[in-house]
């Protein structure tokens, strides 16, 4: 029984440690993010296009295997509104506006990320 209690305590330490470290990492990424100004679209690792985050636009992203994602930029936010992929995870994802935030469509290998150019 004593051994069981010891195991339980070590479980708690493990869980606490993991949560603490990842919590700090999460906090740091949230604290040090800056508003972005450009949207970069990459398909399979190659840059597909770069767009101004502060100019409303609708961009059709086509991939080689016939897939597509529709990227909509409105009011300084980027979001995917339509996609050919079966899971639609990219469509359900929150709209993004801060640097290093991204929307990723795994099936189409599309990465949409925000970057900041004029650092102030």
């Amino acid at each position: 029984m004593a051994a069981e209690n010891k195991k339980r305590r070590r479980d708690m330490l493990l869980i606490g440690g993991v949560l603490l470290i990842s919590g700090i990492a999460l906090l740091l990424t949230l604290l040090f993010r800056a508003p972005g100004d450009q949207v970069v679209v990459e398909v399979d690792g190659a840059v597909f296009g770069t767009y101004d985050l502060h100019k409303d636009a609708e961009i059709q992203i086509e991939t080689e295997n016939g897939g597509y994602n529709v990227l909509v930029i409105t009011d300084g936010f980027a979001a995917v509104t339509q996609a050919s992929c079966p899971d639609k995870l990219c469509v359900h994802q929150h709209r993004i506006s801060h640097s290093d935030e991204s929307i990723i469509c795994l099936p189409n290998k599309v990465v949409i990320s925000i970057v900041t150019h004029n650092e102030t």
Binding site: E4, D11, I15, A25, D44
Partner: protein, 166 residues
């Protein structure tokens, strides 16, 4: 011989149960991409404790292969296999140390699973952007691991060692 056949049949049933659980899990809405409870892992934890790492590895890999073939794609096979292999290795090693209960072991497994998938995603997509999801996915993996460990523990307690399959 009879013992061996029984074990084999039981492991087959476990594989089927794990597959069904992956299917059932696809109906549970997710808060964020990649965040899942990992229901099949309940079966893997059970097999790991009852039959050892070799049996758990076999059940896990066959489960990933069959699930990808029936509901997924080659890409989901790569993600699934990477997550399954790393999480099993970590869980088998931690179980050997006898330091943690099934909860601690499956928490480490959940974290390892999500980390492996993020690394594969970063390699496949040739981008480091996905790495920003790692903290969130590790927290998710921890929560999932706690649930899976508790469920696995209940299963181990409820299904007696000498299951009278007659």
């Amino acid at each position: 011989m009879k013992q061996k056949t029984q074990t084999l049949a039981l492991l087959g049933m476990c594989t089927a149960a794990a597959m069904i659980l992956s299917y059932v899990e696809s109906f549970i809405p997710s808060l964020s991409p990649g965040l899942k409870i990992g229901l099949p892992n309940v079966v893997i934890v059970f097999v790991l404790y009852r039959f050892g790492w070799l049996a758990a590895g076999a059940v896990s890999l066959i489960r990933v292969l069959l699930t990808a073939l029936s509901f997924g794609s080659m890409l989901s096979l790569a993600y699934g296999a990477a997550g399954a292999i790393l999480s099993l290795v970590i869980m088998a090693l931690l179980r050997k140390t006898q330091l943690f209960s099934a909860v601690g072991v499956s928490v480490a497994g959940g974290v390892a699973h999500n980390t492996a998938q993020i690394i594969v995603a970063a390699a496949v997509m040739d981008t480091h952007q996905v790495l920003y999801y790692l903290p969130l996915l590790i927290i998710g993996g921890t929560a999932a691991g706690i649930l899976v460990g508790i469920a696995g523990g209940i299963l181990l307690a409820r299904l007696p060692q000498k299951h009278a399959v007659k």
